[in-house]
């Protein structure tokens, strides 16, 4: 028996508590450290899962949300979820593998494992979720905002735009140096003052350029 064949019958082994798993599977689990560890981990989770579960069944909406999340993340397909099928009478349609209304009142060990794993997985997914910035928010990038401002001034008077462009470079360089100085010594009052000055210079450029482009 190889690992793939072993993992196919793994749910039965866990469900039965390993009592009536066939000898071939037990031999493989003893011989293969990866599969052996997997069995031990799953049994441990199965033992701990009932302690984590509430006394009352979770709302059907929870199951529905879990399923939707797993489908939307591409972790499961909507039409086939073998592991979860055991929690219900299944097979009523392609997307209703989890037959919520007909769930049994008690949790099977495998069900507990999968439910716990799903909740944990969902938690991890939510924890790591970082919304992608919208494409239209380019102006939040300071360099792009600077360029936009310079373009506005240049459209009125290219020579003045050039002055702003040069000044913007100088101010950005000032900010970078002042930040470096503050990083070196946060208690350095002169460095802190210069950092504030540098930012005020930038604010002044923005204010003046905005006023100029509105004239």
């Amino acid at each position: 028996m190889n690992c793939e064949q072993f993992q196919e019958i793994l749910p039965h082994i866990i469900d039965d508590g390993g009592q009536d798993g066939d000898a071939e599977a037990r031999t493989h689990a003893d011989a293969c450290p990866a599969c052996g560890d997997l069995v031990r981990d799953l049994r441990h989770i199965a033992e701990q899962a009932p302690l984590l579960l509430p006394m009352h069944d979770p709302s059907p909406r929870v199951w529905s949300n879990i399923q939707q999340s797993l489908i939307s993340e591409g972790l499961i397909r909507g039409d086939r979820t073998p592991g979860l099928a055991s929690t219900g009478s299944a097979n009523t349609g392609p997307a209703s593998v989890i037959a919520l209304p007909q769930r049994p009142r008690a949790w099977t060990p495998l069900g507990s494992i999968m439910a716990t794993a799903a909740v944990l997985l969902l938690g991890v997914l939510l924890f790591n979720y970082r919304p992608k910035p919208a494409a239209g928010l380019k102006a939040s990038d300071p360099a792009s905002a600077d360029e936009q401002l310079i373009r506005q001034v240049s459209s009125k008077d290219p020579s003045v735009g050039k002055a702003y462009e040069e000044s913007m470079k100088q101010v950005n360089s000032y900010i970078a140096d002042a930040e470096k100085a503050v990083k070196n010594d946060g208690n350095d009052s002169v460095a802190n003052e210069q950092l504030m000055d540098a930012y005020q210079q930038k604010a002044m450029l923005y204010e003046m350029a905005t006023a100029r482009s509105q004239e």
Binding site: D157, A163, Q170, D177, Q194, A198, Q201, M208
Partner: protein, 288 residues
């Protein structure tokens, strides 16, 4: 000459005459503003000259150089606010010279003035009210101001102040050089990013002086009788040893860094002088 030809000839003469009149045409406007009123001047090119008036009215002489531009001059009925604004009528095909307006403005005492230009040089002389000046590239020159508030902002505009006494001075310039000659007051603060700062004076009357820059030099020329409590400090640039006898301070907030900082006093140390740079060289020299 037929009647038709004569009419066309006359019309052409009229158009040329009108254009000539518009080009270089000077118009005088008078504004009735009360004491404490604010006069705002906004223009792009040309020039602005501000000086004290002998009458109780603000007198605005505006010279346009084409018919593509006009000067709008008006005041609110209550006399608390006046505006002088250059209005571009047609920018299409106009040269920078066409859009110039030269202003000569006489201001009675007690009126605050706010000036904003793009390229127009600004000259302010002898005005008594508070003054706020903003210019992108036009030279800013201020002379003979006393006991006032002067607020200056520039992008690359050079700034020159001469004989500004007892005045709160606040100058922020990114790239323009700032030159102060005989400037004193309760607070005199100059901040630049890359504009050279030159102070030539005696820091009279005490007060607090701050000259700060990123990477431009700071040069201070002062007489031996100047009474200062001086701190010079550069993060990465050099601070030259002063040419004047200044007594080194034993206790100071600035950590001593050889060649990069200096603290000292002369006489009673009436004026507090702080010179700060990130990388610009700082020099304190004896006034010739």
């Amino acid at each position: 000459m037929t009647n038709l030809t004569r009419t066309a000839y006359m019309a052409a003469l009229l158009v040329v005459g009108a254009n000539l009149a518009a080009a270089g045409a000077t118009r005088q406007s008078r504004l009735n503003l009360g004491p404490g009123a604010v006069l705002t001047v906004v223009t792009s090119g040309g020039s602005v000259s501000l000086h004290p008036g002998t009458e109780q009215q603000v007198i605005v002489n505006s010279t346009t150089h084409s018919d593509r531009v006009e000067a709008d001059v008006h005041a609110t009925p209550d006399g608390k606010r006046g505006e002088v604004v250059t209005h571009v009528l047609s920018q299409q095909g106009a040269s920078a010279d066409d859009l110039r307006v030269d202003y000569d403005i006489a201001v009675p005492p007690g009126i605050s003035v706010t000036l904003s230009t793009a390229t127009a040089p600004i000259t302010v002389q002898g005005v008594s009210g508070d003054i706020s000046i903003s210019s992108d590239t036009g030279q800013i020159t201020v002379r003979q101001i006393s006991k006032s508030h002067l607020h200056v902002r520039g992008v690359t505009a050079p700034v020159t102040l001469t004989d500004v006494i007892g005045t709160h001075v606040d100058i922020t310039s990114t790239g323009g050089a700032v030159q102060l000659t005989q400037v004193s007051g309760p607070t005199v603060e100059v901040r630049t990013a890359s504009g050279r700062i030159t102070y030539n004076g005696d820091f009279a009357g005490g007060g607090h002086y701050l000259l700060s820059t990123h990477d431009a030099p700071i040069d201070v020329f002062m007489p031996a009788f100047a009474s200062v409590d001086l701190t010079a400090r550069s993060s990465t640039g050099a601070v030259d040893p002063p040419e004047l006898p200044l007594e080194k301070k034993e206790h100071t907030n600035v950590l001593p860094a050889p060649g990069r900082s200096f603290t000292g006093t002369s006489h009673s140390g009436s004026a507090s002088v702080e010179l700060h740079s990130y990388s610009g060289r700082i020099r304190i020299k004896k006034q010739p």
